[in-house]
Symmetry: C2
Subunit: 454 residues, 2 copies
């Protein structure tokens, strides 16, 4: 029988951040992380292991030395059940470990629809956060010439781009009208699609998959429209589902997405058990509804909050709901989003105006490497509060999206944005006189003014 | 006798933004910009005209067509006096023009200390926002081999870097212990200095200039310590002074920096006259004292605010004081700052703690082009509010500094930052588990906690 004050189940980003925060917040408590065998991968870096950084060994979180230095115990084992009454966890090795507080950071698993025939053929892969699996997959792909990626969320898109760079003949199949169609409004999604096509990836949108065919090994992918695509391998990037067997076996309630229900302190129904990351319920910051978004950065925010609240709740350290903030890049072009998109805002019944602007991301525009930057803001019509936005441009828009994130999280309105100061520099940002984020706010303000004078 | 509703004096960034905002906010009002002869330069782009974009013609704000489209009149003339009683302005051409509201955007002029002997020699230059002057200067420098830049503020540093790139033998002389020593704390300033030295620019710090010597034309620069530097040309980058002759002749009060006194709506003592940009008084966002900072981005914020308040004041559209936010770059390394630095905070008597973190700006760290990113936060000890920060790293820190700017302007405290969501992507940002901005907040929180438990 082992004993720990804080037990963290799971050692991907959320688990590690929860552990580090717990130890920082409560140095006198013992903290143990239950981890799977093998090295922990940088989750968002997985696609890049297939070409840009060459192999998963170049994409690992350096856990070992660092966590020992912090005084955190790493235990290589697997939880098989939780006894909430006794506050103990039974492990695959036969051991049990007791806890004062338990943090579930069990993550998510790739989703394979039950209707999809042929998903069990050889050379059909998913994209789990599992180094051994991915290493084998990469080995196999080295002997392939053509691959079909199914699903054009950001994992499918980034992986297709990387597999294409690695020399494979890649076809990306997506049933929505555009790649990244859930994350972005049509204009941004189309722009990303154009850029991906220009890299040489074949993109088939509005195309549902019917079946994967082959004798033993995958040979072709059949589409709903009757077309078929020959392929040596298939990658299923059809989303992920919360990994919550352990939680539900322990009687913890799940929500409609299968995620463990949590409050704003990240506590489950059991006040001694917290859940963070992909396995935990997320509420949308704006709609206040449950949402299925899974992002490492959101997971880390939740993990920090859980870690701080384990033994001492604090109202100023709560999770206010996910703004689903993320960015991706294709070559030198990048795409960011935070909060509601226009289409989701309308779908949800928000009364909105939008503000848009396009201009050079350096100034003067003649500077080498200049890219057009576009900002689109989604603004509540009544109070003028920024509900969301999309940004496209060069690589600087990753952090610009974070500036937008702070605007949204502070519930700033267009006036507050219009009177804000930004720092500008020829080589680093757009011009102060035509800074797209401010000009988009101005565009929204103009529309709001026009509406008022009616 | 001409007539306009809004008269803007000055056509650099602040004047143009004030004009555009005035026309947008009050479409029924006529707006006239009084501009100097010749094209308007992108102010922050001026150093880059000397090498990266080759010439000032590649660094102009495209005013003509755009302003006509907006319905704004451009008048090429110079104001010689203002009659506040009659609300009219007399012009160099002999014309007069009446106004309902006047906006002074007369900018600043390079500062030459009166004690500096030899500043009138041939081949001694300053850096005004004057295309004809700069073109002549560039022509002259083409026939020079060596140049001494005096003053290592960001203009002096950026210009030295560019002149060095253009093939000149450049020595930068600064009387403070480090380049950029007013903007950054010592550690950041030293880092920038190392990088500038590595480009080949000779940097002499802690070195006061005594005299510029030569017969007709500059030949050498004498330093306080007795050393002398041979030079074919000298560039004085010793700061700027508000250009306020017109305002003070009209009886408008100036502050201790010689800037036109204004309130938070950017109104001067005369409610019909506003002042924006380098010629206008600035209060510091944190210290609430007057400050001499001059930045195009601050100027544009003031111009937007003045433009919106011209005929109808709004409490939600006021200027809350400058956070002196800016960034600069040397090659692939960049440096940003917003709000108070540690040294200024201590000087002013603030009771502070700092939080610091250094980590890769991409994740995994093996990604090509990875730079170390450092964030240092200055935090008020009592309430934990972020008063300022410094960021160094690759080119993405320009926009990251803007994220920090929104944190400061929203008066966020360390807890608010710790529970914030940021978006991360391998190629665009640091890792979500070790995002330097959040880790620096964590470091500050840890120190605050340590202090509390005493």
């Amino acid at each position: 029988m082992q004993k720990t004050d804080v037990l963290i189940i799971g050692s991907s980003a959320a688990g590690l951040v929860a552990a580090a925060t717990a130890k920082t917040s409560y140095p006198q408590k013992s903290v143990t992380v239950l981890r799977m065998k093998g090295k922990t991968l940088v989750p968002c870096g997985i696609p890049y292991a297939f070409s840009t950084v060459e192999k998963t060994d170049n994409n690992v979180i350096p856990v070992e030395g660092q966590f020992e230095k912090l005084g955190i115990s790493l235990l290589e084992d697997k939880a098989v059940s939780i006894d909430r009454g006794k506050k103990e966890c039974r492990l695959e090795s036969g051991e049990t470990i007791t806890y004062e507080r338990l943090v579930l950071a069990t993550g998510s698993v790739p989703f394979i629809p039950s209707w999809l025939k042929g998903a069990d053929l050889k050379n059909v892969f998913t994209v789990p956060k599992d180094k051994a699996y991915l290493d084998k997959m990469q080995e196999t792909l080295k002997n392939c010439r053509s691959v079909v990626t199914i699903g054009a969320g950001f994992i499918g898109v980034e992986l297709s781009d990387e597999l294409n760079k690695s020399g494979l003949d890649v076809t990306l199949v997506e049933k929505l009208p555009h790649i990244l169609g859930k994350a972005f409004d049509e204009k941004t999604a189309s722009k990303a699609e154009e850029i991906l096509k220009n890299t040489g990836v074949k993109v088939m949108t509005g195309a549902g998959v019917k079946e994967i065919k082959g004798t033993g090994k995958v040979e072709e992918v059949l589409l709903d429209n009757g077309e078929s695509i020959k392929a040596d391998a298939v990658v299923l990037a059809m989303g992920y589902r919360p990994n919550t067997g352990l939680a539900s076996d322990a009687g913890l309630p799940l929500n409609e997405f299968g995620a463990v229900k949590v409050d704003e302190y990240l506590r489950t129904e059991d006040e001694n058990i917290f859940a963070v990351g992909d396995c935990a319920e997320k509420k949308d910051f704006v709609t206040r509804k449950s949402i299925g978004t899974m992002l490492a950065s959101t997971a880390c925010a939740e993990a920090r909050i859980a870690g701080m609240n384990l033994f001492k709740l604090s109202l100023v350290k709560t999770f206010s709901g996910t703004i689903s903030i993320f960015a991706t890049a294709l070559g030198e072009d990048a795409f960011g989003v935070a909060g509601l998109t226009e289409s989701r805002a309308l779908e949800e019944g928000f009364d909105i105006i939008t503000g848009e602007f396009e201009g050079p991301d350096k100034h003067p525009g003649k500077l080498p490497g200049m890219k057009k930057q576009t900002v689109k803001l989604i603004v509540g019509k009544e109070a003028g509060i920024i509900l969301g936005g999309e940004i496209t441009g060069g690589l600087s828009i990753g952090e610009l999206t974070n500036a937008l994130g702070f605007i949204i999280q502070n519930r700033m309105d267009i006036n507050a944005v219009l009177v804000s100061q930004i720092g500008t520099h020829p080589l680093l940002t757009a011009s102060p006189a035509a800074y797209p984020l401010l000009k988009a706010a101005e565009d929204a303000a103009k529309k709001k003014m026009g509406l008022c004078s009616c």
